[in-house]
Amino acid sequence: MRLSLERLTFLIGLGFALLLLWQAAGLDTWSVIGPGPGLFPVLTTAFCCIVAGLLFVFPSLARSDVDAERAPEPPLDLAERRTFVIYCGALPLLAVASAYFGFLLTSVILVLVLTWLAERRNWRSAVIYGVLCGTVGVIGFGYFLGANLPATAIDNFLLQLVR
């Protein structure tokens, strides 16, 4: 049995579904007042296990004529791959930065990473664009629309200016 990427995906799916089924199986499926909290999760996770298992054993069931008509993606050259990797890295960075640095600094960091590092634009314009995005975000969304944005001293200073 050859382990193609497709098959590996279904295997991971099956493993994950089994893990969830194990979690769901620990819950009551029936209680004194009727169906318990575990009934529906057991049904859905068991369903996932069956479908993922079928797909793992018979991967040909995952193919359709629609998929066959799709052209494969062209390979990336070195520069394009670098851009792609930086974009992928920017997402976890975004999660960390927004938790610790507030919205304005996060904007500047994100724009620097994407615009300057990934897309190779001028760093000065990237900084200006980042500050602009951050300021509009904090004032426009944070102040006028009342969005609950992450805030540090810089963000609070900006908010004080418009209050």
């Binding site: 996770t45 479908v51 193919r63 629609v66 974009y87 999660a95 969304f141």
Partner: protein
């Protein structure tokens, strides 16, 4: 009629007109922009509208929903890039018309056809909603659970691609919907002991991750290419179709409206299926078959009309039965619930101002879209000239704002996780729209199932005790069996 007048009086306030305008404007922009679709946009804006008046918020979010089809047309005609899935078919004849020097006519025929379809669709909703809503009163928990199962089976069938992959997405969506405290007993479920998961996984980070962040990663995977836009006419006269084009577009517009609405009402139908079917019908009945693919007016007018009628049609089951026909209307359903509005018969009875306000806003919104789209189309299309280097951080930051507005600080990490998962699932040709739809329908299905089993004392025969439940379950089985049929030609991903 008096109900509709009530609706117009609700929408007629300056604030509501403004929000209706903002919604339709955003819808057009989103339809044009690659990288952020209507689903992600509604998910981003949904928490921001929490403090707004209910009617204003829903008018704006619905405006985005039906405005998208207009925006997608412009890029299909002028660039051969479908801004939205429902405009894919327009790339064939719409773009060829533009290349033949008829860009203005193509845009006008598409916009006027869309306007007619949207308006007639709205009229149909106005008249069909009350009787359909009364029918829903006949549904008990068993019938409702069967209806949800039939809807999920239909959506799975229409999703295109392999049936088992579609079913896996439905199963995953239903399972994600179970994560967190059980709504009846508050017992934590599928949390692996994590306290941060007890509150469940919110729709906003899930949708933003799957449809916002994953799209950004997909954009980064594509090489940057210079766009070649066919310029729209500069004068009003340049937008006017000639007599021959007008004559040839009348019948396709009429057929597209009826077909699109009927398809839109079906669970899993929606705008994309409507446009594809309309194109097939037009090619079959046209006297100018040889022109199809080379700029046939019928090949533009029919699908463009059908996709707007489909968009309107999909709102009928949502508003009358609380049953979303596709992923976007599933997100809209959540938006309704956030604002304390439960779509369905109760909404028409208890909150007529919201229901009829929405209906009236669709009439007004369609006029706004027509007025925005024809004169400003050149300006809208310029958005596409903004380089990826500036667009992508902006979209990411908007996504972060949307996630933070939904309330939980750790949700950005959840959204990032689903962003990577979504990108991987897209690459493996899974339909993410099904996941969202199942996630939204899951709690409703579970509640109905548990209520039915509580009533029957655990006796499963409650699901075969009346013709309606049996009929719906048989329909679900038929859809699943049809899904195993090997030759399904269309990819119908309406996300």
């Amino acid at each position: 009629m008096e109900h509709l007048l009530l609706g117009f009086s609700v929408v007629g306030t300056p604030a509501n007109l403004f929000y209706c305008f903002v919604g339709t404007f955003l819808g057009t922009v989103v339809g044009i922009l690659p990288g952020v679709g209507p689903l992600a946009t509604i998910a981003i804006l949904m928490p921001l509208t929490a403090k707004m008046d209910v009617t204003s918020a829903l008018l704006m979010l619905c405006g985005i929903y039906y405005g998208v089809a207009y925006g997608g047309t412009a890029t299909s005609v002028l660039l051969r890039i479908p801004g939205e899935a429902s405009s894919v078919i327009t790339c064939l004849d719409g773009y060829m018309m533009a290349r033949n020097g008829r860009a203005g006519s193509a845009l006008t025929i598409a916009a006027v056809g869309s306007f007619i379809a949207g308006t007639i669709g709205t009229v149909a909703i106005s008249y069909l909603s009350p009787p359909l809503a009364k029918l829903v009163f006949a549904f008990g928990p068993a019938q409702y659970a069967a209806l949800m199962l039939a809807a999920l089976a239909a959506v799975t069938y229409f999703s295109g691609g392999a049936l088992l992959k579609a079913l896996l997405m439905v199963g995953l969506g239903l399972t994600i919907g179970c994560v967190g405290a059980d709504p009846m007993t508050l017992t934590p479920r599928l949390t692996f002991g994590s306290l941060s998961l007890v509150g469940g996984i919110d729709l906003t980070p899930l949708a933003i991750g799957l449809f916002g962040f994953s799209e950004i990663i997909a954009m980064a995977r594509q090489p940057v290419s210079k766009l070649r836009i066919i310029p729209p006419p500069r004068t009003f006269l340049g937008f006017l179709p000639n007599r021959e084009e007008t004559r040839r577009s009348v019948a396709p517009v009429a057929r597209g409206t009826v077909l699109g609405f009927l398809v839109g009402v079906l669970p899993g139908g929606g705008a994309m299926l409507a446009s594809f079917l309309s194109y097939a019908v037009e090619r079959k009945v046209s006297r100018h078959r040889e022109e199809f693919g080379k700029g046939a007016v019928e090949g533009l007018a029919g699908p463009e009309t059908a996709n707007n009628a489909g968009t309107a049609g999909a709102l009928l089951p949502l508003l009358c039965m609380g049953l979303p026909a596709n992923a976007i209307s599933a997100v809209l359903l959540t938006a309704f619930m956030i604002h304390g509005v439960a779509p369905g018969p109760a909404m028409i009875e208890r909150q007529p101002e919201v229901f009829w306000g929405l209906i009236a806003s669709m009439y007004i919104g369609n006029v706004m879209l027509l007025l925005q789209n024809l004169p400003l189309i050149g300006l809208f299309v310029k958005i596409l000239e903004v380089p990826r280097a500036y667009i992508s951080p902006l979209i990411m930051l908007l996504c972060v704002i949307g996630v933070y507005s939904s309330g939980n600080d750790s949700d950005v990490a959840v959204a990032v996780f689903f962003g990577f998962l979504g990108y991987f699932l897209r690459k493996m040709d899974f339909d993410l729209g099904l996941l969202i739809l199942a996630y939204v329908l899951g709690p409703i299905l579970e509640r109905s199932l548990r209520q039915a089993l509580t009533i029957s004392g655990g006796d499963l025969s409650i699901f075969v005790q009346d013709y309606l439940t049996v009929g719906l379950l048989v329909a679900a089985a038929i859809f699943l069996l049809l899904g195993l049929w090997p030759t399904r030609r269309l990819s119908l991903r309406d996300d």
